[in-house]
């Protein structure tokens, strides 16, 4: 029997066709109106698996864009602070040139000193620049003031309280950049050179190793009593002594005399008597009698201090080429060679290359105010010798500026890269998830036609029955 078609199946077929047609119609309409091809995972599960990571990527790249903007802003803020620092250093150079000129008066020098003092305070506040409520030049310890101006018995100095950790932020996939520089690498960067000791002709020499001192240091070398190798009858007198180190002594029995360091014989016993050596140095001794041996050596100990006598290093072994002298205020160590030390005195120690922005300012101010009552000529020559240090300190600030500027401009490049990545990711995403509008509209039109046709045909079909024709 051939297949029977009934009205019921005709209706059913028409209904099914129309509803399927309508379903496709609406899903196309959905795609066109939302602009997205994939509105739920089942629309295209494979595409969904690509869309989610792409969306995450895009979000990530947006984050990176923000980071770059933030980094640029931060770096530029830092750079502008350093620009201020740089012009300040320029002014300092002019002032130094002026002060080094021998013809200026005491009053001029003091007024220049006042200006340098101001510049110092300005420089500290530049180094303590903030972005928002956070210090920029303190490493990651951004809520503590990184540079502290300390004045104590050891003088004025600026202490770095920050750390050397860097806040790195991601600015491109896998690329991080530090947002700031640790302040001491800008304002206190050092290229330690040789250390020189000059002025006092005490015979002391720099050991040249292991020094941690900064800028100028005053080295005070005093007589610190007799070592235990002195004859038992000889004690230090209360008068002034300039001779240091290992000294020869020679007693003569009759007349009872004592000669020190090959100097003139002095009659003994004697109390608080000055003995002059052949070098012209003087040692003040009290001698009560003649020892068993008539000739020999003994040691006049030295007391060496870099902190103005607050603490002294006692030197009895004059063969040491590296004796550490510690400054009790700032904890710095100066190693000195005492093998040729032969007399007391004051020496000026210069740690070349260690002058930083702050020590230059402090040293210059102190020289201009002449707090240690130096002779004018000394002041001038010291100021003059500071000129190169001013330049190198300025160079340090400029280095920091260049570094920040370079980073800021590389941010620009990165920004371009991230933007182009964003575009390419957006394109991929669009390719996967967006509706091909032209194609969809074409399909929509075709679907429209199909739908209309289905309606018309169905209408025709279900109208026709025999009953209408039979009379």
């Amino acid at each position: 029997m051939s297949l029977r078609i009934t009205q019921g199946s005709l209706y059913e077929m028409a209904r099914g066709n129309i509803s399927r047609s309508l379903l496709r119609y609406t899903s196309l309409q959905d795609a066109v109106s939302t602009g997205r091809r994939v509105n739920r995972p089942s629309d295209d599960p494979a595409a969904t698996l690509r869309i989610i990571p792409l969306n995450n990527d895009l979000r990530n790249l947006g984050q990176l864009s923000n980071n770059i903007a933030l980094a640029r802003e931060t770096l530029n803020t830092g750079a502008s602070a350093l620009e201020d620092g740089s012009s300040l250093m320029q002014r300092l150079r002019e002032l130094t040139m002026q002060a080094a000129n021998g013809t200026i008066s005491e009053d001029d020098r003091i007024s220049i000193g006042a200006e340098v003092e101001q510049l110092l305070n300005q420089m500290v506040s530049i180094a303590n620049s903030k972005r928002g409520d956070q210090y920029m030049f303190g490493g990651t310890a951004s809520d503590e003031q990184p540079f502290d101006l300390v004045t104590d018995g050891g003088g004025t100095r600026v202490v770095y309280r920050g750390n050397h950790e860097r806040l790195n932020i991601e600015v491109a996939p896998g690329v991080s950049t530090p947002l700031s520089l640790p302040g001491d690498s800008i304002f206190q960067q050092r290229h330690r050179g040789t250390v020189s000791i000059s002025g006092g002709n005490t015979g002391i020499r720099p050991a040249g190793v292991g020094d941690t001192g900064v800028g100028f240091q005053n080295l005070a070398i005093a007589f610190n009593g007799l070592h235990t190798d002195a004859p038992s009858t000889v004690t230090a007198g209360s008068g002034a002594t300039t001779a240091l180190g290992v000294l020869d002594y020679a007693f003569t029995a009759s007349p009872a005399t004592l000669s020190i360091g090959g100097g003139a014989a002095v009659p003994i016993p004697a109390t608080d008597t000055a003995f002059t050596t052949s070098d012209g140095t003087v040692i003040n001794l009290s001698v009560s009698g003649v020892p068993a041996t008539l000739t020999g050596t003994f040691t006049a100990k030295a007391g060496i201090s870099t902190d103005g006598g607050a603490t002294q290093v006692d030197v009895s072994d004059f063969s040491r080429t590296a004796t550490p002298v510690r400054n009790s205020y700032d904890g710095t160590v100066l190693n000195v060679d005492v093998t040729q030390l032969s007399r007391t005195g004051e020496e000026l120690v210069k740690h070349a290359g260690t002058f930083d922005t702050f020590t230059v300012l402090v040293t210059l101010r102190d020289l201009l105010q002449n707090r240690s009552d130096l002779p004018d000529s000394d002041v001038q020559s010291r100021i003059a010798s500071l000129l190169t240090e001013v330049d190198s300190a300025h160079e340090g600030v400029l280095d920091g500026l260049r570094e920040l500027g370079f980073r800021s401009s590389s941010m620009e490049l990165l920004s371009g890269r991230v933007e182009s990545l964003k575009v390419s990711r957006s394109e991929s995403l669009s390719l996967v998830q967006d509706t091909d509008i032209a194609d969809s509209i074409l399909q929509l039109q075709r679907q429209d036609i199909t739908y209309q046709a289905a309606l018309q045909v169905s209408a025709k079909m279900i109208q026709t029955t025999l009953s209408g024709l039979l009379r």
Binding site: P41, P45, A46, L49, Q134, G210, T465
Partner: protein
């Protein structure tokens, strides 16, 4: 020939035609009745009779039956198909609902996850910003709530199943009762040999209604009844019905049973079966995967957060969020082993490093606490922590661990480097010290125990002598004495003048008096040679006015917990002595590198080592002869035991699964508690960097996926399943439509056909009437002849 006979044939014809028309009319009337089967009048010529000479003549027409046009095989396939479509519909709507719940790929949890990591990224670029800190806490909260919502809605889906199945089961029962009743009626009606067509149609329709809901097999019996089997059990047997019942298993899964029996219906098709299958298999799997993702997110985030440092620096006090459960029911909490204390996360055997910081000096002391969950209770842990200097720890009555630092001190569990690791002064310290040249273990088996040595401290002018006696009982194994055993034994005897310590596996004995006049001398007492076995010098050593200041910078980027041990190559002054080197060993005593710290090195200058560590040695003297040694802990994970995670010590998330994950409320209340760094510096983003690293790390417990990928996989799988369910429904629908088409073709009413039938029967009726009239005419004629 008789006229009566002619009229009889005519009457039969009239009846047949009338029945034909009525049947056609009935067919037309029922053209749209669901389940109606076209009926047909079966005609048969009635028995002929013989007339003269042996001729036979027909006696008209008989209506033999009014039959239904039904293909039983087709009906059976249709029932099966209805069940399949029912199941496909349920699957499709289930997955479509799941898709709705997930709301992917634009929106949904994937974007919440991305925002969460994004907020960490934002904070990382500006860790001191309080608003951004709050943003991270808020994003964590949103993530937790987003996951909760998913879990709850998955749960709702499952909870609805019972009510839904129950409703459907009631329908099945109603239909089964109807079928039983129809069975009775059909038997009664068909007792006289006719067919109860319409009742059979009604019954078939009820069977189909059941088939749509649950797998069913119809077994027709000879008496006209139909038995219905559901999952191999009789639902309807003739006039009896065993009702289905809906029950809930212990696991909360809906089950359907027959009567009061326990037989679960092993149905595979139909709406009921599909609903149960979704609740039993698919939903738990979804929840399990969501739980798996959540649990690992909580674990990893908390591992990082509990070992981080809040903005405010080390903690003054901290109480665990979770307490130990009273597992043995003795009323006291914390006395069970850590492994049996009912924590949400397992405590592993490992190390916990706790650092105590003196807030005034910033000096940090780090203590390693070995955790063994099979041998240590929470109270043991509290006691161990309580023994750490400046810490007090206890277990409160609710089983929670409470740790307090003394005033002026703070504690933390961060893996940061100790910035001043030489607090003990074992390398060029101001106090004289003598260290063992070698590392542990020490072979003391040649000694005759007890063996003694003297420790002379104080100054040359006023020496203080104490004697240390080592007993064999001090050591587990005298041929492999450990430093810790030696330290305990020595500290018991040496008194207050000196202290022994374990420095990177070296034994160090240090005078407690500093300065250049302070002295330390060790001497073997009697015949003992123990100092030789330990590799400690008997030469007198003196202290320094100022010790070597050692500073460590950076953060350790290696992947394993370890140590860096620094041992000078000779005796000399940092930065002064020519060729003075610092040998750097790892924790196992392997040489890592050699640092130049002699002439040419500026004391205090940082030397960069591997893995992000930098060290600087200040000016001062160090001595190889005296066994100077310095150890720096390099920690990648300061809690390998996860005990902090289990206890919830300043954790990021609370809970352990999708339903109970929650942000630590403290972080919302006070974003400063967020552990962004590891050091307490305002702009330290060390911990945030670790958290961001979590984003890209492929976790073993997530099948080597990142958290986001794992989630995307869940979404993708739902998508695949949903697409498959859509396709299946479409194809099953098409198949059903095809079967229905076939059924229509056999059983459906074609109105045209019926019209034709009607016309045919009408004409037959007319002809029959004509025949009767003709016979009547003939009779009349005959009668009139006789008149």
């Amino acid at each position: 020939m008789s006229f009566g006979f002619g009229l009889g044939a005519g009457l039969k014809a009239l009846t047949a035609a009338r029945l034909g028309i009525e049947t056609a009319g009935n067919n037309v009337a029922n053209a749209n009745t669901p389940g109606y089967s076209r009926q047909r009048v079966d005609l048969m010529s009635s028995l002929p009779y013989s007339i003269a000479r042996g001729f036979q003549i027909g006696s008209g027409v008989d209506v033999s039956d009014i039959s239904r046009m039904v293909d039983e095989g087709l009906e059976r396939r249709l029932r099966l198909q209805l069940g399949m479509v029912g199941a496909a519909e349920v699957d499709q709507s289930h997955y479509s609902e799941l898709e709705g719940i997930l709301a992917e790929p634009n929106g949904g949890l994937s974007s919440t996850l991305a925002s969460f990591f994004g907020s960490i990224g934002s904070l990382q670029s500006n860790p001191a910003d309080r608003a951004l800190r709050g943003g991270v806490a808020q994003a964590g909260n949103e993530l937790a709530q987003g996951i909760n919502l998913l879990a709850r809605r998955f749960g709702d889906l499952g909870d609805n199943t019972f009510a839904e199945v129950n409703g459907l089961v009631r329908q099945v029962n109603d239909d089964a009762v109807s079928i039983a009743r129809l069975n009775v009626q059909i038997v009664e009606l068909e007792a006289n040999g006719s067919t109860a067509n319409d009742l059979r149609d009604a019954r078939e329709q009820k069977i189909k209604d059941i088939a749509k809901l649950i797998d069913t097999t119809a077994m027709p019996r000879n008496n006209g009844t139909v038995d219905l089997l559901v999952g191999g059990h009789l639902l309807v047997a003739g006039d009896r019905v065993t009702q289905l019942q809906t029950e809930r298993t212990e696991a909360g899964i809906t089950a359907v049973t027959l009567g009061n029996g326990v037989d679960a219906i092993g149905a595979s098709q139909g709406r009921i079966a599909a609903l149960i299958r979704q609740q039993r298999d698919n939903l738990p799997q979804m929840r399990q995967r969501l739980d798996q993702m959540t649990r690992n997110t909580i674990l990893e985030m908390n591992r990082l957060h509990t070992t981080g440092m809040p903005r405010s620096g080390p903690f003054a006090s901290l109480t665990s969020f979770y307490g130990a459960k009273d597992g043995d029911g003795d009323g006291s909490r914390g006395d069970e082993l850590l492994g049996q204390s009912g924590f949400l996360f397992d405590v592993e055997a490992g190390d916990l490093y706790v650092a105590v910081t003196d807030k005034a000096t910033g000096a940090m002391t780090r203590t390693r606490v070995a955790i063994d969950p099979t041998a240590m209770s929470l109270q043991d842990l509290a006691a161990t922590l309580d023994n750490v200097a400046h810490l007090s720890a206890s277990v409160d009555p609710t089983g929670r661990l409470r740790i307090n630092a003394d005033s002026g001190y703070g504690f933390d569990f961060s893996p940061r480097l100790d910035a001043s690791p030489n607090a003990f002064g074992s390398l060029g310290g101001a106090k004289p010290s003598i260290g063992s040249v070698g590392r542990e273990p020490f072979d003391l088996s040649t000694q005759t125990f007890p063996v003694s040595f003297t420790v002379t401290t104080g100054t040359a002018a006023t020496p203080v002598v104490s004697t240390v006696t080592l007993d064999a009982s001090d050591f587990a194994n005298t041929s492999a004495a450990t430093v810790d055993e030696l330290v305990t034994a020595i500290n018991n005897d040496v008194g207050g003048a000196a202290t022994a310590a374990n420095v990177g596996g070296h034994l160090v004995l240090r005078s407690n008096q500093g300065g250049s006049t302070s002295q330390l001398t060790l001497a073997n007492a009697g015949a003992g040679t123990v100092l030789g076995s330990l590799g400690m010098t008997t030469t007198a050593v003196t202290g320094q006015d100022v010790g070597v200041d050692v500073q460590v910078e950076g953060s350790y980027t290696g992947s394993d917990n370890g140590k860096l041990v620094f041992v000078p190559s000779g005796d000399g002054t940092i930065g002064v002595t020519a060729d003075l080197k610092m040998n750097v060993f790892d924790g196992d005593g392997n040489l890592v590198t050699v640092l130049d710290v002699g002439a040419g090195y500026t004391p205090g200058e940082s030397i960069t080592l591997e893995n992000g560590v930098a060290i600087a040695f200040g000016p001062g003297d160090v001595s190889a002869t005296a066994g100077h040694v310095l150890a720096v802990d390099t920690l990648a994970d300061s809690d390998t035991s996860d005990v902090l995670v289990a206890l919830g010590m300043n954790s990021f998330f609370h809970g352990s699964n999708a339903a109970d994950i929650a942000i630590n409320q403290d972080l919302l209340d006070n974003p400063d508690m967020l552990a962004a760094g590891t050091s307490g510096s305002a702009s330290d983003a060390g911990n945030l960097i670790r958290m961001l690293g979590l984003r890209g790390s492929k976790l073993g417990d997530l099948d080597a996926n990142t958290i986001e990928d794992f989630y995307a996989d869940i979404v993708g799988d739902v998508g695949f399943e949903a697409a498959a369910a859509n396709n299946l429904l479409q194809s099953q629908d098409a198949l059903l439509a095809h079967l229905q088409q076939q059924r229509e073709s056999v059983s459906g009413v074609n109105i045209d056909e019926e019209m034709i039938d009607m016309t045919r029967y009408q004409q037959a009726y007319e002809a029959a009437a004509r025949f009767i009239s003709t016979v009547q005419d003939m009779t009349d004629t005959l009668i009139n002849i006789g008149r």
